[in-house]
Symmetry: C2
Subunit: 256 residues, 2 copies
Amino acid sequence: VEPSELVAYPYPAYVLYETLAEGHGARFSAVPFGRDFALPQALFGCDAKLVFVTTPNSPSGTAYEKSELRRLAESLPRGLLVIDEAYVEFAGDDALSLAAELPNVLVTRTLSKSQSLAGMRVGLLFGSTELVRGIAKIKDSYNLDRLAIAAGAAALRDPEWTRRNVERIVRTRSRLAQALADLGMEVLPSRANFVFARLADAKTAKRAYLHLKERGILVRYFEKPLLDDGLRITVGTDAEIDALLGELSDFSRQKS
Amino acid sequence: VEPSELVAYPYPAYVLYETLAEGHGARFSAVPFGRDFALPQALFGCDAKLVFVTTPNSPSGTAYEKSELRRLAESLPRGLLVIDEAYVEFAGDDALSLAAELPNVLVTRTLSKSQSLAGMRVGLLFGSTELVRGIAKIKDSYNLDRLAIAAGAAALRDPEWTRRNVERIVRTRSRLAQALADLGMEVLPSRANFVFARLADAKTAKRAYLHLKERGILVRYFEKPLLDDGLRITVGTDAEIDALLGELSDFSRQKS
């Protein structure tokens, strides 16, 4: 993206899109989601040079169908669609084939989530030969060290480990989502390794966040429109989830 | 550096300066060294926004005095001087204090050479708080993974290991330089972990390079002005240096 060109993405999503667009002097347009986190119609046909869609999205956990992403890519008159599939292994479905089918689609992934290699900072990018060659030209040299390359290669050679890890997390996610709903929270349908659950209002959500924090349980609270009445809860081990649910249950009993 | 601004450096030096300047759309000026690799006078007072000086330089091995680098930095009307000290531990002297003294000096180092951690891709940068804050703003997030950080921190905590490693290399470098001179080669005064040695002419240098390569000994041969009559030989173990000297001795006997 040249300086002054437009980068667009639905908002709220991954915060680094904005930071990186700013660092490159690009203009950016954060197109607001509605409360259901459906893909905003304003993205379709927009004039941006670069559109980012995270699917499953963070912090909502909502995912977008391949057919809809294809329609978005095809609607962009001069833009590239980057489909950020950081959490895709938890979604049960993906849009990787669009990177091969469409000349203006890039798909990015990471080993930080389903492969549990966050500390190694290894990512993957898929796209047409032409796009990938262009990106390779401006890529930093030596952007991965030898141990990260070894760890990344080993993880990719062991899809079975990833499958078991994902299965465990998806199972715990179901239990967590059901239990939060039983506590009266509105739980967005999650396709990621976290759930976004809404409380009565922003004040209650912030109090719940602080209640958990004081007891050593860290969840994400975002003091932003559309997010400030909810908590993003990462799917942990069964014991961690039990501890969380116990404290949230205490919290809701204290309120009433 | 904004696109179209000027980046200057003496030539030949580290090849990535040019590649990176190109990638950012900057103009660049490679100011040619003379045969003695003294700092080119044309750099002093030049209009560049960014000047790179590698000291000790590669592939020449020649180093520049702090007083001269200070004079260069002070001569730049609007430019930043980046002093690349990748090989500095082998030089016996450094210019690090200029990063604290002068507002337009940055000093960069790496753990790839004297700490033997090339595979970890860890570098260091020193400069005024203001400069470093500016750079931190546009630095990639997550540019080092956890293992690289751990390895880098451990290496920096063990200067004694580095000192012994450097002493060994500097000792072998003296022996290598003397032996190459005894074989009739012109050896530039090296302050790095390699020596640059000139043969009779470019044809001889290339033949010597191929002679060594065929025997499994890899040295660097640069088919470029000012370099094409020489070889850059990295200081290896004593056994490696003995093997190299034996083959070079055979080579010069074959010639005569």
